[in-house]
Symmetry: C2
Subunit: 190 residues, 2 copies
């Protein structure tokens, strides 16, 4: 039942946006009674949050390939695939409703959480000495993920894998190089 | 007269946004006849474009400090200062009017041009061998400029200079390191 409802909710959200989204319509598409839905998700915002949490890539397990660059590339590919394919319709309608306060609250909450798999990967490689201890992990994530997001949603450009590889390669080489410089300076001071 | 009109137009734009912006009001504030304005800028969109072109940092001369990292940092500081100080009011109202087609057309035109000083700096350092020849200059600009822009306008966070320095340091160290790897691979092949 949960899977059915959330699948129907994702389709409704992509088709109608947050404002036009109605729990009754989701119930009809999923073939369940609307009280069944309200029992589990008391408000429309709760149902939308659960829907996004089910399908957005930020809630999956972090990759662990044994290679920092590959881990970051995997995370970025998941994100871009979601933004251009399964999630494209949902993201398009949500971007058109910037002034819905309930929606803003849900997105703000989810936004913070979608950093989790990225932070897990970055902290793992920090512990292995690939990054300086004071390197801001959020900055690294933003440096690789914002350029493709901006190109896809705000400039209707296409993004190919070579662009994603290039940004990950620059960030990883840059962060490693700074960690080495930091260590060398530390050794000289001793 | 031109300076007066454009200064008045900048204040009106920050106060009323694009939709509420009226050439008559600009003329009154600048103390000129509105036909004087229309003779030079035939439409409201023309006047708004000229206003932004006069004050946005993307239309200033590129820095040339003799140091790649410092050049990029200077460009980034200009941009962030504009976004948080002189231009803050204008950017705030413009972001609230995503569906004004005339405004979209102006911003799209200006957006491409604001890359110019960045491209001038990056091409100069590419010619000096600091960057691989096939490195996408737009990607480097986006990697350093989107994280602060996103934090300022979409998450109401503050951005300090250390964050700007960190992103520039990572991009420069990363791009240099990739250029070196590329050259070494090239030598090995010969």
């Amino acid at each position: 039942v949960v899977a059915n409802v959330l699948q129907a909710a994702a389709a409704e959200l992509a088709a109608r946006g947050y404002t036009g989204f109605r729990v009754e319509d989701v119930a009809a598409v999923a073939g369940v009674n609307k009280t069944t839905i309200y029992r589990r998700w008391p408000t429309k915002a709760d149902l939308v949050e659960a829907t996004l949490r089910r399908i957005a890539p930020g809630f999956r397990e972090p990759p662990d390939t044994g290679n920092f660059e590959q881990d970051l590339l995997d995370l970025l590919l998941r994100e871009v695939l979601w933004q251009t394919q399964e999630g494209a319709g949902i993201i398009r309608v949500l971007l058109q409703e910037p002034s819905e306060p309930d929606l803003q609250r849900v997105l703000k909450q989810l936004y913070a959480e979608t950093f989790r798999p990225w932070l897990a990967v970055i902290e793992r490689w920090k512990a292995r000495g690939e990054l300086a201890a004071d390197c801001d992990p959020f900055l690294l994530v933003e440096m690789v993920s914002l350029p493709p997001t901006m190109r896809i949603h705000h400039r209707a450009q296409t993004v190919d894998e070579s662009m994603l590889r290039a940004s990950v390669a620059i960030v990883v080489a840059g962060a490693r190089s700074l960690a080495k410089t930091r260590k060398a300076a530390h050794r000289r001071r001793k």
